[in-house]
C-alpha cells in the first residue's frame, strides 16, 4: 500500500456537513437517544472514521445522513447539509427532506452511497449481481441497458472481481464473503458518488480478506477522490485508513480530530481507555510472566496424527458421484505441556474449533491418537475410547464457549448452571453446593446474590464469567477455550484474559486457547499453533511465530492484521498467500 499525504483541508472541499444531529427511537415505552447533538464534516478525498463500541450510535449516524433511519427512529433535529448537489451546486439539507420523496432518493446512490456490514444478507439472493448493480445506475442516469451493463462490468473490474464479464451474471450465493463485499463496493461506486459510507464493511470478514478490502477501498478513494466515511469498532482499522477520526460513546461524540492527534494526544478519558485496552493486547500480559520452563516429558496432552472428515451428504437418486469427504482436520499433531497456554489461531474454516472439540471428544476424530495424562493417572488415548468411557475425563478437561448467550441455558438460574457439574459428580448437599457456587462466583468477580438470578439479567461479559465459573468448578487440569473473548467489546477483553491467566496459574491448569485474533493470542499464550485448511502449518513460541513467522501463510496472516498505530501505515508489506484461491 502506498501512502499519499492527505490533502490539507480546504473550505470548498466539504461534501457533507452534519450539524447538531439528534436521532431518537421512541418505542412507546421509552425514548432511546441513539444519536445526540452530533457534528461532523466530511471532506473530499479524505477518509473519516467513526469509531465506537457496540451501541454507540455509529450506524444510526450513517443512516441518518441518508435519511433511512429504521422505524421507530426519527431525526429529531439538526441538519445534514449536502454541498454542491445538482446543477446549481447549491446546498441541500437532507434531514429536512421527506424520507420517501423524490429529492432524497435522487441523492441516495448517486451523490451518497453506502456499503453495509453483512455481505451475506445485504444483497438480494434471487437477483444476479449484475441486475443489482445495473439497477443503481439506471435509476439515476438516462442510460440504456447495454451501456449500463458495460459500465457495471467496468466497475466490477475496478473492484478486482475476476472475469467480470461472467461474474456479472452470477448470483450472490455463488460468491464468497469477500467477493460479495467487492460487489457491494462496485454497486456503491457505479454512479461515482461524492461520499461513500461504509458501515463496518470488513467486520464479518476474515483478517486477510479484510486487508484486501481495506487496500481496495483506499485505492479506489485515491482514484476517484470521493469522501469516505468509514464506521468501525476496530482501532487497528482506524490506524490503517483514517485521515480524520470521530470517537462516539453512547450516542455522543466524545472526541474528534486528525488521526495522529487521536492516537497520540487523546484528550477524552474514554478515548484514552479505548486506546489503552487496544494497546494492552499488543504485547504479552504482565500476568503471564516469562514462559514457564517446562520439560518435555511433563506433557498433559499429546495429540498425534489426528484427522477428521465430514462425510459429504449424498442425495437419493443423485447421479453425481459421491463427493470426497471434507477434511476438517488433516494429520494434526502437537503436545501440550502441564501449565502451558497454547494458542491455536486460524481463520474461519481452518478447523480450529473442530480441533478443540476433538480434543475433548465432543466430536469424534476419524483417526489419530489423543493421549491425555491426568495428574496421578495413567495416560489414556481418548480417541480410542468408546464414547461412554470418555465421560470421567470431562472432569479433568473442560471447555469455555465462545458465545456467552447460547452457552448458558436461559431457563436455569446461575446457581443451577454452575452447580450442574458439581451435582453430576456427586456433590448433592444443597448447603455445600451453595457455598461452593458462592465461592466460584466470587473468584470470577461476581456477587454472591447473582446465583439466584437467571442469565438474562447479565451482560455478555458477566455471562462469560458465569461460564468460566462453571468451567473451573471441578478444578480441571486442562481447559479448551474456544474464542472465549471474541463476543466481547475490546475494552472487556484484557480483563477477561487476565482473569483466565490468574486462574490458570492458581489452579495450575493447562490451556488451549482458540482464537482468530493474534492480539489476544499474543497476550495470553506461551506457544501458538497456526492452522490453515485443517492443518497446523506452524507451531512455536508466541514471539517467534508472531515476529518472525517462517511459513508463508503465517506471514500473510500476520501482515494482514491492522496495527493500532498510524505511523506504521504503509510500512508493513502485505503478503498474499496464494495457495488459497477465492471464489
Amino acid at each position: 500500500m502506498t501512502s499519499v499525504p492527505p490533502m490539507p483541508p480546504q473550505e470548498n472541499d466539504i461534501v457533507v456537513e452534519v450539524k447538531d444531529l439528534s436521532t431518537w427511537f421512541d418505542t412507546g415505552k421509552q425514548v432511546i437517544k441513539a444519536v445526540e447533538d452530533l457534528n461532523l464534516t466530511l471532506r473530499r478525498g479524505r477518509t473519516h472514521c467513526i469509531v465506537g463500541e457496540s451501541g454507540s450510535g455509529k450506524s444510526i449516524t450513517a443512516r441518518s445522513i441518508l435519511n433511512i433511519v429504521p422505524k421507530p427512529g426519527r431525526i429529531m433535529k439538526g441538519q445534514v447539509l449536502l454541498h454542491g448537489a445538482g446543477a446549481g451546486r447549491e446546498v441541500i439539507d437532507l434531514a429536512a427532506l421527506d424520507p420517501k420523496g423524490r429529492q432524497i432518493r435522487s441523492v441516495r446512490g448517486r451523490d451518497i452511497s453506502m456499503i453495509f456490514q453483512e455481505p451475506m444478507s445485504s444483497l438480494s439472493p434471487v437477483h444476479t449481481i449484475g441486475q443489482q448493480i445495473m439497477e443503481t445506475i439506471q435509476l439515476h442516469r438516462r442510460i440504456g441497458k447495454k451501456e449500463a451493463r458495460e459500465r457495471a462490468i467496468e466497475v466490477l473490474a475496478q473492484v478486482k472481481i475476476p472475469r467480470p464479464e461472467r461474474s456479472i451474471d452470477a448470483y450472490p450465493f455463488e460468491f464468497s464473503g469477500g467477493m460479495r463485499q467487492r460487489a457491494m463496493t462496485a454497486m456503491a461506486l457505479i454512479c461515482e458518488p461524492k461520499l461513500v459510507i461504509a458501515d463496518e464493511p470488513t467486520t464479518a470478514l476474515d483478517v486477510t480478506t479484510q486487508a484486501e478490502i481495506l487496500d481496495l477501498m483506499k485505492g479506489l478513494q485515491q482514484r476517484h477522490g470521493m469522501a469516505l466515511m468509514f464506521i468501525t469498532h476496530d482501532m487497528g482499522v482506524v490506524a490503517e485508513i483514517a485521515d480524520d477520526v470521530t470517537v462516539m460513546y453512547m450516542g455522543e461524540v466524545v472526541e474528534h480530530g486528525p488521526v495522529n492527534d487521536i492516537f497520540f494526544a487523546p484528550k477524552h478519558p474514554y478515548t484514552q481507555r479505548l486506546l489503552a485496552s487496544v494497546r494492552a493486547l499488543e504485547r504479552r500480559s504482565h500476568r503471564a510472566g516469562p514462559a514457564p520452563k517446562l520439560s518435555n516429558d511433563d506433557a498433559i496432552l499429546e495429540v498425534s496424527n489426528v484427522s477428521m472428515n465430514f462425510e459429504a451428504r449424498r442425495r437419493f437418486f443423485s447421479r453425481a458421484p459421491k463427493e470426497p469427504p471434507v477434511k476438517a482436520l488433516d494429520d494434526v499433531s502437537f503436545t501440550l505441556k502441564r501449565g502451558e497456554v497454547l494458542g491455536i489461531v486460524g481463520e474461519s474454516g481452518s478447523g480450529k474449533t473442530t480441533l478443540g472439540r476433538c480434543v475433548l471428544r465432543v466430536l469424534d476424530p476419524s483417526s489419530g491418537r489423543i493421549v491425555f495424562k491426568g495428574r496421578g493417572a495413567e495416560p489414556a488415548d481418548l480417541a480410542a475410547l468408546p464414547k461412554s468411557a470418555v465421560k470421567p475425563y470431562w472432569r479433568k478437561m473442560r471447555m469455555i464457549f465462545q458465545d456467552p448467550f447460547s452457552s448458558l441455558n436461559p431457563r436455569m438460574t446461575v446457581f443451577q448452571v454452575i452447580a450442574e457439574p458439581l451435582l453430576n459428580h456427586g456433590m448433592t448437599d444443597r448447603r455445600a453446593l451453595e457455598a461452593e457456587v458462592a465461592g466460584l462466583l466470587e473468584r470470577v468477580g461476581l456477587p454472591r446474590e447473582a446465583m439466584w438470578r437467571y442469565p438474562h439479567a447479565f451482560s455478555g461479559g458477566q455471562r462469560q464469567r458465569i461460564g468460566i465459573a462453571r468451567t473451573i468448578a471441578l478444578r480441571p487440569e486442562l481447559i479448551v477455550a474456544d474464542e472465549a473473548t471474541s463476543a466481547l467489546d475490546v475494552s472487556l477483553r484484557a480483563h477477561m484474559l487476565d482473569l483466565l491467566l490468574g486462574l490458570c496459574r492458581e489452579f495450575e491448569m493447562s490451556f488451549i486457547f482458540i482464537g482468530h485474533d493474534i492480539g489476544v493470542i499474543r497476550y495470553m499464550c506461551d506457544r501458538v499453533a497456526v492452522m490453515h485448511r485443517g492443518r497446523i502449518v506452524e507451531i512455536g513460541d508466541t514471539d517467534t511465530v508472531c515476529d518472525r513467522p517462517s511459513h508463508a501463510y503465517t506471514r500473510s496472516l500476520i501482515s494482514a492484521i491492522p496495527k493500532p498505530d498510524p505511523r506504521l501505515r504503509g510500512k508493513t508489506q502485505r503478503i498474499r498467500y496464494t495457495s488459497e484461491v477465492e471464489g
Partner: protein, 328 residues
Amino acid sequence: MLGFILRRLLWMFPSFFAVTVVAFVIIQLPPGDFVTSYAADLATSGSPADSATLDALRLRYGLDQPMVVQYFTWVGNALKGDLGMSFEYRSPVSDIIWDRLGMTTLVAFCTLAFVWLVAFPVGIFSAVRQYSIGDYVVTFLSFLGMATPSFLLALVVMYLSVEFLGYSVGGLFSPDFVNAPWSFARVIDLVQHLWIPVVVLGVAGIAALVRIMRANLLDELGKPYVETGRAKGLPETTLILRYPTRVALNPFISTVGWVLPVLVSGDVIVSSVLSLPTSGPILIQALKTQDMYLGGALIMFQCVLVLIGTLLSDILLAFVDPRIRYDN
C-alpha cells in the same frame, strides 16, 4: 435444473406406489370382500346371483389369492384401466369417475388461482401496513376464515341465496345445461355457477395464505438487502415489490404443497352441500354404502391429483429460485 426435475420426477414413483397401497388398504378395510357385499346386495334386491357368476367374479379380481397377490392384481388391472366394479351403480368404476374427477380438477385449480390472486396482494398489504387498521381488519378476517368450516360457509351461502335471491345456487350448471353437450353457452353457464364454490372453498385457503404471506414478507422486510435497495434510491413501492416480495414469493409458491390437499379435502364436503357434479358427493355416497372399489379409486385419484399439483409447483419453484436451480 434438469437434474432437479429428473430427481423430482423419480420421487413420484414411490409416492404413487404409496398412494396405491393406501387406496388398497381402504378398499380392504371393511369386513367381507367385494363379492360378498355384491351378493348380499343382489339378494336384498330380490335377484340372488348364482354361485357361478360369483366365482367368476372372485377369479377375475383374484379374491381367493393372498393379499399381496390381490394388491398386484388390483394395481395391474388399474393400470389397464379396470378399477373394479361399483355395485351401487352396477357398472365399472372407470365409467363413473372420469367426468367427476375432471370437474374436481377444474374446481380445485380455479380455486387455487383465486386463492393466490387474492391472498398475495392482501398479504403484502397487511405486512407493509403492519399494525394499521387495515392490517387488523385483514388479520381478524383471516382468523375468522380459518375458523369457519367450509361446509358451514356453503350452507350460509345457500341460505342467503334462498332467503334473498329466492332461488338455490347449488350445482355447476343451470338445469338446461346439465346434460347438454359441451358448447360455448354451456361454458358460460359453467363460469356463472363456478364462482360460488370457488369462493366458498377459497376462503379458508386465502385466510391461511394471507397469514403466511404476511409473516414471510415481514421477515424479509427486516433483511439488510431491503436497506441496500433503499440506500440506492429506489422508490419505496418498487423496492418492496422488486426485492422482499420477490423473495417472499418463493415460500409462497411452495405452499401449493399443502393448499391443494386442503382444497381437494374441502371439495369433498362442500360439493355435497352445494351438490356439485365433482367427485365429492359420489365418494361420500360410496363410502356410506361401503362401495369400496369406487371409494378407493376416487381417493387414489384425488391423492394423485394433489401429488401432480405439488410436482408442478416444485418445478415452478425451481424456475423462479436460483438457489434451487443451481443446487445440484
